[in-house]
């Protein structure tokens, strides 16, 4: 029993990190209707900037503030020079634009800051914590805590303020939103900035686990099954999806892995996502298109 609980808890904690990555996609998908391929690059860009600043001796808080500021400027620039000229183009055009953006951001980030692996120490001691005979990683616990705080803050921002209903309006019908005087450019800037900041937090937490380098931008690939399971349009769905993937992966590795010869974590999430696509294509909490017939 304690092995089961330990596996489950470890999986759920790791899942909150998947959720954090996935939320960045959901935000942009809702507001701009585009799957932002560049989310991983932005995450890497944020983490790299932070590490580079920290290596030059800048204190953590200052490095965080500067990086956050840079990401906000980047978001505003993306809106101004990429999204605005492409307003009213099809989703595929926008997707291709984010694909290009992804390589641009990655190239610039690595060109300026190098591509070697950097260790990132956030000052969280990773000593295991024992609850009875269940071992829990202290780092994972802190990371999950940060993720939860961030998610609650986002939920409040998007559900309790007018910014939130404006965002939903833009997502629902752009021309109507414009005709009512909603500044969609402003909304896009906010959303991209928030997605960038969420990406920064995710990048730092992942970076502290596995080092900051190019492959960090690939953690977003895990977000894809999370989004399929949770639903592309729901923040709550991203959280549930993340936890399902994290816990499922961890349990499968412990209980099924031995029979299949390991490596199950590399494909488990995708297999699960495939099953969801067949059974429930809108995901657990995604909006199912309603049509009057």
């Amino acid at each position: 029993m304690s092995l089961f609980l330990e596996t489950l808890i470890g999986g759920v904690l790791a899942g909150t990190l998947y959720a954090l990555v996935a939320i960045g996609f959901v935000l942009i998908y809702k507001a701009s209707g585009v799957f932002n391929y560049a989310q991983g690059s932005l995450l890497l860009f944020g983490a790299l900037t932070f590490v580079s600043l920290k290596e030059t001796g800048v204190p953590i808080a200052a490095a965080l503030a500067v990086t956050a500021g840079l990401l906000i400027v980047t978001a505003v620039a993306i809106e101004r020079f990429l999204l605005r000229p492409l307003t009213n183009r099809g989703p595929l055009t926008l997707f291709m634009a984010t694909l290009g953006l992804s390589y641009l951001v990655e190239g610039v980030a690595q060109g300026l800051m190098g591509s070697r692996v950097r260790a990132l120490d956030l000052g969280i001691e990773d000593l295991p914590l024992f609850l009875g005979d269940i071992m829990i990683s202290r780092f994972d616990l802190v990371a999950a805590g940060v993720a939860v705080v961030l998610v609650v803050a986002l939920a409040l921002l998007f559900h309790r303020t007018r910014i939130g209903i404006q965002l939903r309006g833009v997502a629902d019908d752009t021309r109507a939103a414009l005709s009512l005087g909603i500044d969609i450019h402003r909304i896009w800037q906010i959303v991209w900035a928030v997605a960038g900041l969420v990406g920064l937090v995710a990048g730092l937490l992942w970076g502290a686990r596995q080092g900051v380098q190019f492959s960090l931008s690939l953690v977003v690939l895990k977000a894809l099954p999370v989004l399929i399971i949770g639903g592309f349009t729901s923040i709550a769905g991203a959280i549930v999806g993340g936890i399902v993937v994290g816990a499922g992966e961890s349990l499968a590795e412990t209980y099924v892995g031995p029979f299949l010869g390991g490596g199950i974590t590399s494909w488990f999430a995708y297999g699960l996502a495939l099953a969801f696509l067949l059974v429930r294509p809108a995901g657990l909490l995604g909006e199912r298109p309603i049509e009057r017939v």
């Binding site: 007018r162 209903i165 404006q166 629902d172 109507a176 414009l178 909603i182 909006e287």
Partner: protein
Amino acid sequence: MSDTILELTDVTLAFKGLTAINGLSFSVRRGEICALIGPNGAGKSSLLNILNGVYRPQSGTIVFEGERFHRMEPLKAARRGIGRSFQNNALFSGMSVLDNVIVGLSRRARASLVEEALRLPRARAQEAAFRERARAVLRLLDLESRAGTAVGTLPYGIQKKVELARALVAEPSLLLLDEPLAGMNAREKDEIAALIERLNRELALTIVLIEHDLGIVLRLAHHVVVLDYGRKLADGPPDSIRNDPDVIAAYIGAGPAALAA
């Protein structure tokens, strides 16, 4: 303030080879209901989209409230007080009726981004005021009992009213309605027509509308502009339109009896 709220002079709009609006001039008086009629493809919707800043005409001038349109965009048009509804409902279907109407107040928002994100006192006061104004408009349109309902679940006729409420709540000085009666049964049409008339009378609201139901248009409008192939065919009070032989020939292609009905 002048008596003319909107004046178009020699406005031309073309898409590639197709001329949608061709040298069109007319004016709208403050407080009137002006109907744009004409066969499909006559340029009515294009014209509405020009007035709302979606399209920018290649030539001609448009003066609204004494100010010339210069690089007009939908956002600017909304902020200057031009409200509109769409031909097929463009409501935010996942939101409640009340939230839809509150979004309609966007152009009246004064609290800053930071104030809203942190829900500082000014943002909270604004929110309470918006809620109150939205409820007042819902009361006016007899929609109060639907305030909490998700718009997507309401019948079409009610949705049309919600869209009207959303356009009205920010108190536009000019309201553009694109086929407000389309897809309705006779009873619903009469109800909306009566509502439009009431809004025009009680709020002294200037309305420009597109509508195909000639019987209702000729009863409702003070001023009718007839378009055909992007040109103005006739312009005047309903009585003169009713008897204009050009209009009868182009628009109906039938004897005067069709219009007299």
